[in-house]
Amino acid sequence: MLPLLIIILLTGGIAAGIIAYWNQAACRWLSLITVVVDFAIILFIWIEEGLSMTLTDSWLRDSHIPWIPSFGISFHLALDGLSLLMLVLTFFLGILAVLISWKEIQYRVGFFHFNLLWVLAGITGVFLTMDLFLFYFFWEVMLIPMYFLIGIWGHENRQYAAYKFFIFTQASGLLMLLAILGLYFIHGEQTGIYSFDYFALLNTTLSPDTARWLMLGFLAAFIVKLPVVPLHTWLPDAHTEAPTAGSLLLAGLLLKTGAYGLIRFVIPLFPSAAQSIAPWAMLLGVVGILYGAIQAYSQTDFKRLVAYTSVSHMGFIMLGVFSFNELATQGVVMQMITHGISTGALFILAGILYERIHTRDITQMGGLWSKVPFMGVAAMVFVMASLGLPGLGNFVAEFLILVGSWQANQPLTILATAGLVVATAYSLRIMQKVYLGSSMQGYILTDLSLREKLILVPMCIVIIWLGLFPQQVINTARSTVANTMHAGNHATIHQKQDQEEVPNTSAFNTERREP
């Protein structure tokens, strides 16, 4: 079942690319159907497993096909709660990405959809593979079509943004490749079995120094993708210049692969090394929260503003992951999903406005509410989500992260919480500049079309649903989170014996439920 998810997207992409030579509408429909089929499959798996999900059985599906056995590389895909949630998000946003491009993309439609579906395939692969070589492979598969999406269909400064995106991600990805190879050889020397398999590599024993360097290699790739503040500058450019679907995928999914990597690889593979840098990582997270928020406030480009809010929100992920407790990690999982939806929706709104008034400059807008009330309501919902209003999904995420990080580091949590005030300031600035006030330009606008409603209404419903009934998501992610925590927990005990340094989380670990 699992390879099928990727194969459908890959073949769908090629077919859509070819069919566009004859019929562009058919190409759009084909892409839509491709993603919908994947979405249906993953929902089917979720519903099937949702009833019988227990803590002990954390891997729901596993598919293992040898690929290059002589190097220990295999086509190993596996699905657990976290990957399941991420895939649901991937295909949900994938459908929306196809829909939002329906009118926007008129140039080289076939190649666009080919790239779109291949990005999705890459992301799907990243969320599924349990083989590090394959992981790196998909990591790159995700990158190149995205480069084309930005570089061909983007806005004015697209070449620059696409290069920047590519170089940042590629350079950091190479560091990860080095770390993967390092881990591969160390594990091979120790056991005599050379394998890239995740589960095999989990058992590698590393000296603290080696572990730290290898971890930094992985970390580099993930925190560039996330992004964490000093490495974030590709993001505002890429998000701003990308076409709407590109921004949606970037913000909604590509950033999440970084967060996913932290939870899936960095912490389980190098638990004690991760523990030892935790305070610094959390500090970077908090710097990101505040820096992104302050930057967002002064932006005049709608998409750039939203891009900086992403930087701020991703800071919460960094803070949560390195808090090493279940509350914060569950919050991180929630944050990945809710941020994907709320920020994605804001990019969609920016794109919809751009289609109508051909500007992204919010100082040129104002007073649009009276003209497009439906869009205004949708914007209000997502702006409120972005500032963390309770009742919407983002609140649950941020609240859990902050409660969790409070157990780990109190001064940083206070600073992070203060970020919520700045978040209010920049979020309300969007409303104020775009929808409230009086209109200066006398734009003639039409409110949302049926297709646009079809995009935004489900997003509204999902974000409210996640705010009021998040338990299903929490349950689904529970086993993964517990496993990750188990790794971290183990390291804590280990580290306690080895080193004098007492980690901050130790007080909380004692009462954690053992998986």
Partner: protein, 628 residues
């Protein structure tokens, strides 16, 4: 009937939902019916539930709708908790809310956003009900932020004027500052008690903490931070006067009767913690006392009718904080209820006046309305009398007198609290009747264009009846000693123990307070009716002070200077992201070296040969000489 408790917030929620989804397609009549009707149903249901609750004799009733989230021991539910305290609050919210909805049907009848207005208002009522009914602090926080959102939406209701939007944004951001403190308080509570259920915390707290524990004090202060933000107390009071940009019914419902008293609710609800943190409780009192004086002085100088009332609201909530500071919990709640009646009445009356005079807000351009708008005049007068606490006949007298008395006689009271409250009462009387005299007496300066209809006058009359008779459910020892209200709350909220040997002085203090109120009215009469010249002279001789008070002690300017401008400056300064400069420099450096090295590639063959020769010679030389 008790088990339909969940329906009380659900009705307004459904109303809001319908109005948001299809409001634009409904006729005004239907929208009004849905908007006001849903709150009316909630009010009726509240009465039924309240009746059942009183008859059942249980101390509290809990209803869990669903499990919200449950992670690693942090388990929260959508659960409602009804006890006498929340019953009083939901009664005021639904009942006063219903009256204000009826009023709004006429007040907003020509507005474009009629359905939108009722949608927001219903959503507000729903959030406020969730706030006071919440059985855990996370749900309370949901209601807390929900009312903040509705306040934002309604202050900025007339969004086409940018300044309304800015006022709304200011309100949201400033209350969010307080909310952040409160959120940190929640994190601390959770890390200590491993639950955020209010009742669990309240029962565990005395077992975990001894009185005066620093942890309790810190938490109490953090929760106080949330309370001062929402209740517009010092130092976060600046948003409320600007919030008057919203329509008058909004000011009446949100910025007078209900939302701004959420802070009072929170502190009263968590009173156990404050009893364990005497320092924090003292500061509740100090903040209340200082705020009531500062806001009272500002109210003296305002010329916008609604801003007078706004400052008056801040000041009156200061009384409630003062009461809580001396541990007079039930007095605070009593004053909350009476204040909700008379302040809603005053705002609605002010709204009717403003509407009658073509949206004129300046009191000095009103005047002479006594005969033209008699119903409004009389009801407004009753409200004003209640606010000024005219002795014996008004509800405000009884509620405020209790606070004055306990500020002096209570165990935690002291003479400074008493003096502040007394001075405040005097100032209140002056500014209240200054407002009445300027608005309704004297010469008419603006023509009345719209005479309010039944939908406006009926709520005014009902509220004025409550503003008079509401006080008689709680009478002091000296005057009948009838304590229905405090008995109702006695199981829940501890009563104040008096200092020794002060009982006999109660009637003296009441006399002083009553006399001061009357003197205040008389002074207002002298200044603004008999000889207005005096007031002008005072005004011109104290011009600087007058301006200072008019601007609300210039706190806005101070905050602008301290927080807003530096933030905006830094943010704008760094608009292009200084970190990106580093990467740009990296690119520049690469390009520079590229530029240097590209020169060597001239395309002239002989240079290349030369390069090869020189390179070969160099390498041979190096290998000959360097290698030993």
């Amino acid at each position: 009937m008790l088990n339909s408790l969940w329906l009380i917030p659900t009705f307004p929620f459904l109303g809001a939902l319908i109005l948001v989804l299809v409001g634009s397609r409904l006729s005004r009549q239907v929208a009004a019916r849905i908007g006001a009707g849903s709150v009316g149903l909630a009010a009726l249901l509240t009465m039924a539930v309240g009746y059942d609750f009183l008859n059942s004799g249980v101390g509290a009733y809990q209803y869990t709708a669903w499990n919200w989230f449950d992670v690693a021991g942090l388990s929260t539910s959508f659960a409602f908790y009804l006890d006498p305290l929340s019953l009083i609050f939901i009664f005021v919210i639904t009942f006063v809310g219903f009256l204000i909805h009826i009023y709004s049907v006429e007040f907003m009848k020509e507005d474009e956003g009629f359905a939108r207005f009722f949608a927001y208002l219903n959503l507000f009522v729903c959030s406020m009900l969730i706030l006071v009914l919440a059985d855990n602090l996370v749900l309370l926080y949901l209601g807390w932020e929900g009312v903040g959102l509705c306040s934002y939406l309604l202050i900025g209701f007339w969004y086409s004027e940018a300044k309304n939007g800015y006022a709304a944004r200011k309100a949201f951001i400033i209350t969010r500052v307080g909310d952040t403190a409160m959120a940190i308080g929640l994190f601390m509570l959770f890390s200590i008690f491993h639950t955020l259920n209010i009742q669990d915390i309240l029962t565990q707290a005395p077992q975990v903490w001894v009185a005066g524990t620093s942890m309790a004090v810190v938490i109490a202060f953090l929760l106080l931070g949330g309370a001062v933000g929402k209740s517009a107390q010092l130092p976060l009071q600046t948003w409320l006067p600007d919030a008057m940009a919203g329509p008058s019914p909004v000011s009446a419902l949100i910025h007078a009767a209900t939302m701004v008293t959420a802070g009072v609710y929170l502190i009263t609800r968590m009173h156990t913690i404050y009893e364990l943190a005497p320092l924090a409780q003292l500061w509740v009192g100090i903040i209340g006392a200082v705020t009531l004086l500062l806001a009272g002085c500002s109210a003296l100088t305002q010329f916008d009718l609604k801003r007078v009332l706004a400052y008056s609201t801040i000041s009156q909530i200061g009384y409630m904080f003062l009461a809580m500071g001396v541990g007079a919990w039930s007095s605070a709640v009593f004053h909350f209820m009476i204040h909700a009646f008379f302040k809603a009445l005053l705002f609605l009356g002010a709204g009717a006046v403003i509407m009658a005079l073509h949206h004129e807000h300046d009191m000095f351009r009103m005047g002479g309305l006594k005969n033209k708008l008699p119903v409004i005049y009389w009801t407004f007068l009753i409200g004003a009398a209640s606010l000024a606490a005219l002795p014996f006949v008004t509800a405000g007298f009884y509620s405020k007198d209790q606070i004055l008395w306990l500020a002096w006689a209570g165990e935690k009271g002291n003479v400074w609290f008493f003096l502040a409250a007394l001075t405040g009462a005097f100032i209140t009387a002056i500014y209240t009747f200054r407002m009445v005299f300027i608005t309704f007496f004297g010469k008419a300066k603006t023509q009345v264009s719209h005479v309010p209809g039944k939908r406006i006058t009926i709520p005014l009359v009902v509220l004025s009846i409550l503003s008079v008779f509401g006080g008689f459910i709680e009478l002091p020892h000296t005057l009948g000693h009838f304590t229905l209200f405090s008995d109702f709350l006695s199981l829940l909220l501890p009563s104040v123990s008096l200092r020794e040997g002060v009982e006999s002085s109660e009637w003296i203090l009441q006399g002083i307070a009553g006399l001061l109120a009357l003197t205040g009215v008389y002074m207002a009469y002298v200044f603004y009716i008999r000889s207005p010249r005096i007031s002008d002279e005072i005004k011109s001789s104290t011009y600087v002070l007058h301006q200072f008070w008019l601007q609300g002690w210039n706190v806005d300017a101070l905050y602008n200077f301290l927080f807003v401008r530096p933030f905006v400056y830094i943010s704008t300064l760094n608009k292009n992201d200084v970190i990106d400069k580093f990467y740009t420099m990296l690119v520049r450096a690469t390009e520079f070296f590229n530029g240097v090295f590209v020169k060597t590639q001239s395309g002239i063959l002989r240079w290349y040969v030369m390069g090869i020769v020189v390179g070969a010679i160099l390498i041979i030389t190096i290998s000959l000489f360097v290698q030993p």
